[in-house]
Amino acid sequence: MVDGVTFVRNEEQTMLADTLADLLGASTDMDRTRQLSLTLDAHDQDVWSALSQMGLVGLALPGEFGGAETTFTDVAIVFEELGRFVAAVPLLSTVSASVAILAAGTESQRAALLPPIAAGTAIATLAVYEDPHGGVDAPSTSAARIDGGWRISGRKRFVTDAPNADLFVVSAVTDDGVRLFAVDAEREGVVVEPVAALDATRPLADVTFDVIVGEDAALSGANGVAPLHRALDVAVVMLAAEQVGVAQRCLEISVDYAKERYQFGRAIGSFQAIKHRCADMLIAVEHARSVAWYAAATLDDPSEAAIAVPLAKSVCSDAAIKVAGDTIQVLGGIGFTWEHDAHLYFKRAKSSSLLFGTVEVHRDRLADAIGV
């Protein structure tokens, strides 16, 4: 135990991980994922339905909105398992958007918006980034008061799962501060332009808003930055947990291959060049696991989250990129082919290190938090 954080999974958490592993093992199909990664709007309906039926989409939401009120540590377990399968599902988008709605919305907005999200019938996502290096505190997207509502104008970029989204949580500057708005994807004036994503199992799009919404679309008062930061912190930590799953699965692929592949009359895993690489991968995985767990467990403690969130981004990003990259090297030529799974993990690893604030952005944030 450290500061009230325990690193040992309880019985229910172990059961959750095991159940999920079985479920994902049965419902994912890496060939299908490979096929999906040739599209601009990947969405694995089979896995999404399975997650929805198990009540995992709204896991951390209050019971009154269809959630199960679990801890973020439990949600992180779901993401770790999803990472193992590079599952093409919009859970990261949905969880982070729902946290924003929960943090910013009024009781009636929550009651209207959250239940369909928790049920998996409405896919929501954050539309908050505009610049590849930028933050979220000063959007150029604006919202002007008009009679009976707001007119939102601007262009958002790097919007995850946008091609499949039913609802956008959009940040916009207003005359008295930044507000978050809930904007229906079907509304006239919302234009989604999918882009080819490095990791096509997590679709990205530019979304242009020139749209008129009602009063009730404004989720927050003029203090929208705080709930947005909260939602992004959750996104970063869940992404870190997913990176642990990515790295763990890559290590397994590498070790299995190193035991089976023979060259020079020996299993290549008996050569120290391969064995030592695998040992270093193991260390990276175990370190990543520790920080992801710690960050999930401290998400509700603001002073600790200021350190633990960027810490998780820094360590888990580097770990996933290293282990996925090393996996391609251990596999040799087969690891470079489209037909092998390795590239799916490698692309997910790199992409995740850049989305929701790059590693560098988070290192600067961590530096501030520890007084460097």
Binding site: V2, R266, R289, S290, S314, A367, V372
Partner: protein, 401 residues
């Protein structure tokens, strides 16, 4: 093992009683340690009469915490680490009652310092290939050969020695384990000066040194098994410490950044990257400790030594770079001197440059990082071992050089 329902209370009572009868502030350390041993609180899982109470080892942490909170002296564990940290475990697992009675108490009170005589000039990573000979002569053994990298030998009364008793056996089978009196005739200890100028280590020469057979540990030919117990304890002692956040090398790096750093963005980010890696390692050690206690140890329990060695080298090198051209100086200078008793018992004040030099040993001492990677690869990940040309050959036929 049967669960003793009264154990918690017995240990707590023993600690209370010890602190009451020997208030740490008013008791000489040696007296306190003697009383601690007699109370069964030296190694609480050892048998009664041997410094323990015969309870589960999980109570060790409780005892340490209580004693530290009470301000009791605990630096004997680091100052006599080869004895208290390693030798004691060997005696507990492989020694006789007579041996435990004779050696454990003066070891714990620091009346007798211990060292470990394994490595040789021709046997480093391949320690099982060692050549120091032990030849039986009646009730004694005659020892000839040379050991190296022997920490604290110049201060030690006793040494944990592995020697070759049968050169006709394959290398792992012809070894026998002894406790040797370092003050006996034929034992010559010479300091081995290292890149910092000081001598923490020694060379030890055996020239017809004699060891009574009752100082043999376990059976003739069982030396490798006993040595393995010692090495496992050593790696835990080196890698498994839980420390506060931002302490040690990374804490010194933060200090240098604040006091002497250039303040540029690239340096700041690299410092933070290293801080994050060190914090990840620290959290992993905490996780390992917790899993160990709950009886579900995983791979995270084996990565500490290797991770720490590489990271510590990186952090100390980066710290010197942050000094700019000052990093090209070394404030202490170089003077060839043996590490004294006092400097081992307290945290030594060393310059970042000296820490940087000392850190080069981290990936060599207590199992090189290459050997540690083999262990992780083979024992944790289940990868096959390298083909071994020497495994079944009689030791005397194995090529050496």
């Amino acid at each position: 093992m049967t669960i003793d329902p009264t154990a918690d209370q017995r240990v707590a009572d023993a600690v209370d009683q010890l602190l009451e009868q020997y208030p740490p502030s008013a008791t000489e350390p040696k007296t306190f340690w003697g009383a601690q041993f007699d109370a069964g609180l030296a190694w609480v899982d050892f048998p009664e009469g041997n410094g323990g109470l015969g309870v589960s080892p999980k109570f060790r942490e409780y005892v340490s915490r209580r004693l530290e909170e009470a301000g009791a002296p605990t630096w004997n564990r680091s100052a006599n680490i080869l004895g208290i940290g390693m030798g004691a475990g060997v005696l507990a697992a492989h020694g006789t009652d007579d041996q435990r009675s004779r050696w454990l108490r003066p070891m714990f009170t620091m009346d007798e310092i211990w060292c470990q005589l394994f490595s040789e000039p021709g046997a480093g990573s391949d320690v099982a290939g060692l050549a120091t000979r032990a030849v039986r002569d009646g009730d004694e053994w005659v020892i000839n050969g040379q050991k190296v990298w022997t920490t604290l030998a110049h201060l030690s009364k006793w040494g944990l020695l592995v020697a070759r008793s049968d050169p006709d056996q394959p290398k792992h089978r012809g070894l026998t384990y002894f406790v040797v009196d370092m003050e006996s005739p034929g034992v010559d200890v010479r300091p081995l000066y290292q890149i910092t100028g000081e001598a923490e280590f020694n060379e030890v020469f055996f020239d017809d040194a004699r060891i009574p057979d009752d100082q043999r540990i376990d059976d003739v030919g069982a030396g490798w098994r006993v040595a393995m117990t010692t090495l496992m304890n050593e790696r835990v002692a080196i890698g498994g410490n839980t420390v506060p956040r931002s302490s040690g090398s990374i804490g010194r790096a933060l200090d240098v950044w604040k006091e002497q750093g250039s303040g540029d963005q690239a340096t700041r980010r690299e410092l933070v990257r290293l801080w994050a890696e060190v914090e990840a390692m620290r959290l992993t050690t905490l996780r390992a400790t917790e899993n160990m206690k709950s009886g579900t140890p995983g791979p995270e329990g084996s990565t500490g030594k290797l991770a720490w060695a590489d990271l510590n080298k990186e952090v100390t090198a980066f710290t010197v770079s942050m000094l700019g051209m000052d990093g090209a100086t070394i404030p202490e200078g170089y003077a060839l001197e043996a590490t004294s008793y006092e400097t081992r018992e307290i945290e030594r004040v060393m310059s970042p440059q000296r820490h940087f030099l000392r850190a080069r040993a981290n990936s060599i001492e207590g199992g090189t990082s290459e050997i540690m990677r083999n262990i992780l690869g083979e024992r944790i990940l289940g990868l096959p071992g390298e083909p071994r040309v020497d495994k079944d050959l009689p030791w005397k036929e194995v090529p050496r050089g």
